[in-house]
């Protein structure tokens, strides 16, 4: 089972074409931005589509307000690496699943942020889309940023998740291809396999549990409700 947590289609109506391509590549699900009002849905042939929200706040307060509103409605919540305040807050907050490196912003992952994230199980997201689109010097700069960030995350014990960042179905890659891109980014083979398959799967499983009605906190859930006397 492999899941792509980073499909960035501009229109949720493209779900069917992404689903067809994902199925060809052996994926069992993908997370897409803009899935309306539900954390996940099941398409034909068992393909799972998960809702993803990207929080673009400039201050901690604005991000905090947004997450209160959307956490229960979305399966994946991510924050791009921006200012140090917002990034460190997001790294510490257990409601945030992914910290995404945005190549256009050129903000690298700091050691301190990675250590905070490793404690709260927030993962580093690497989107491969810029690597497919660019070449030469521009791609080399992104490779530098990605490779440094992957090393920082791995050294701090922060999980790294590889996603496509695809805006069209041909931007998707199979988990094997994704793992080989992971090796290109400085991971060893077994870690690259986990970054492409196991880590995304465990995030989905963890969040599925949180969405169950009896869930209170990690390790605490309501099994049976007593009656008031």
């Amino acid at each position: 089972m492999s899941v792509d947590l980073g499909v960035l289609a501009s229109d949720a109506t493209e779900i069917d074409s992404f689903s067809a391509m994902a199925s060809k590549l052996g994926l069992t699900g993908f997370a897409i931005v803009g899935l309306p009002n539900e954390p996940f849905k099941t398409l034909a042939e068992g393909m799972m589509v998960y809702s993803r929200v990207i929080l673009h706040g400039k201050s901690i307060n604005s991000v905090r307000k947004q997450i209160d509103q959307i956490r229960r409605k979305s399966m994946i919540v991510s924050v791009p690496l921006k200012s140090i305040e917002v990034t460190n807050w997001a790294a510490e907050d257990k409601r945030i699943d992914l910290l995404t490196i945005d190549p256009s912003l050129e903000n690298r992952l700091r050691d301190t942020t990675a250590r905070l994230a490793s404690i709260s199980n927030t993962s580093l997201e690497i989107q491969i889309a810029p690597l497919l689109k660019l070449s030469g010097l521009n791609r080399s700069k992104i490779l530098k940023l990605y490779r440094e960030s992957v090393t920082t995350a791995m050294d701090a014990g922060m999980d790294v998740v590889l996603t496509s960042g695809a805006i069209h179905p041909m931007g998707l890659r199979s988990s094997v291809a994704m793992a080989h891109i992971g090796i290109l980014l400085g991971m060893d083979r077994s870690y690259a396999d986990r970054a492409a398959s196991d880590f995304p799967k465990s995030i989905i499983e963890r969040n599925m549990k949180k969405l169950q009605p009896g869930f209170v906190n990690s390790g605490v859930e309501i099994i049976h409700k007593g009656e008031e006397q």
Partner: protein, 102 residues
């Protein structure tokens, strides 16, 4: 001269448009390998496109064993060929062509 062990890679090239010509695919993988790993690694890869069905998009690549991972990574980061969006999917690797078909 020491004999270099070969590996064969069965792959499928998904595309969003008309069929990709074999020579264009081969050239694009070579260029990607050259761009990512440089001239020495590209020449040592002994990369050769043995077979490619243009309509199905399925084919077999041959390369040296030490460069297998690099060849797959170079092919996986190809986003388009001749203006057509593509997705390279490695299917299986083997030391013999016969092994790929098992």
């Amino acid at each position: 001269m020491k004999k270099v062990r070969k590996r064969y890679l069965l792959f499928k090239l998904h595309r969003d448009g008309s069929p990709i010509e074999e020579k264009h695919l081969s050239l694009t993988i070579w260029k990607s390998l050259l761009s990512l790993y440089g001239e020495i690694q590209a020449s040592d890869s002994k990369l050769y496109l043995i077979d490619f069905d243009e309509s199905l998009g399925e084919g077999i690549l041959q390369c040296s064993l030490p460069s297998l991972q690099q060849v797959i990574a170079a092919a996986a980061v190809i986003g388009s060929i001749s203006g057509i969006s593509v997705s390279f999917e490695p299917k299986r690797t083997s030391g013999t062509i016969k092994g790929l078909k098992r």
